[in-house]
């Protein structure tokens, strides 16, 4: 089997399906160049995983909290379409008028 450096990367990351992984494994036992690549990628990956996240300070968290607090909530958006609101208002008005008439009648 000839060298396939991309597959070696996928192998290092455990991202290959079983037959492909098996093929790379077999190749690695016979190819020092690809073994070297796998080892180098593993140690590079270990160094990268250890990197500390850059962080400008807690002031950023405060600024973002403030921006979120100022943000109108998604649930604040009128989810009932305008025609519905009108119909509702009209309905309520009608009920109000009927109640008023009923009250007038009883008097």
């Amino acid at each position: 089997v000839s060298c396939n450096p991309e597959q070696v990367t996928g192998f290092v990351d455990g991202a290959l399906d079983a037959p492909a992984a098996e093929a790379v494994q077999g190749h690695l036992s016979a190819c020092a160049v690809c073994r070297g690549q796998a080892a180098a990628e593993r140690s590079l990956r270990a160094r990268l995983l250890e990197l500390e996240a850059p962080w400008p300070g807690e002031a950023l968290r405060g600024r973002i909290r403030a921006a979120l607090a100022a943000e109108p909530h998604p649930l604040d958006e009128p989810s009932i379409p305008a025609p519905w609101l009108l119909a509702l208002a009209a309905g309520a008005g009608l009920i109000g008028a009927l109640t008023l008439r009923a009250q007038v009648r009883t008097h």
């Binding site: 995983l49 850059p54 962080w55 921006a67 998604p74 649930l75 009128p78 309520a92």
Partner: protein, 203 residues
């Protein structure tokens, strides 16, 4: 009309001066959920934003816009699913549409031999690993993003494919290329005597 308004406020249609429609308590619940589920990822999001934009100011804008967009869309996020990948998908989308123009500039293609690719004062942000950070920041954007998502943030190929919106094969190829370039850059940064020692070893 006042009767109508009274009736509407009685059925809970009106809330607050804007007259928006909402269910009582739902807003606070959602805000609290966002606080406990999304905000803990701020630090790692900022780290990735910084490595994508390579400057603190753009990184702060990017991460803030990401969290605002996530908050607006949070109602549609299914609780218990992969929130980290969901946030990174938004981060990537925000960085590709709004920030692409802004961050594309010639200063970002400095080679490691020519010194840091970012202003010196930014160095202070890093706790260590300056050499590898410098090499990382010199990688072309697509490779840098793939390597950061895989090797710094430890996402799977599957997650990266969804975050960046490319096929898995492309993810693998970018990680491969990115790591190869990174190894080359790190090799080039080694002190000369160490390189000579290695050379002598070989000979």
């Amino acid at each position: 009309m006042s009767t109508a308004v009274d009736a509407m406020s009685r059925v809970g249609v009106l809330s607050g001066a804007e007259g928006g429609v909402r269910e009582a308590g739902a807003e606070e619940r959602l805000r609290r959920r966002f606080e406990t589920e999304a905000l803990p990822h701020l630090r790692s999001l900022y780290g990735t934003a910084y490595r994508m934009t390579r400057n603190a100011h753009d990184a702060e804008d990017l991460v803030q816009e990401t969290l605002l967009r996530a908050f607006r869309a949070f109602d549609g996020y299914a609780p218990g699913t992969n929130i980290r990948a969901w946030l990174y998908t938004i981060l990537h989308r925000v960085s590709t549409d709004a920030f692409r123009k802004k961050t594309r500039s010639p200063k970002t293609v400095d080679l490691p031999e020519h010194g840091p690719a970012r202003p010196p004062e930014q160095e202070a942000l890093f706790q260590g690993g300056e050499e590898i950070e410098r090499a990382l920041s010199a990688l072309p954007e697509a490779f840098r993003t793939a390597v950061v998502l895989r090797d710094v943030q430890d996402f799977t190929y599957d997650e990266i494919a969804r975050i960046v919106d490319v096929p898995i094969g492309t993810v693998m190829s970018r990680i491969h290329r990115g790591r190869a370039l990174l190894r080359q850059a790190l090799e080039a940064m080694r002190p000369v005597d160490r390189r000579r020692a290695r050379l002598e070893e070989v000979m």
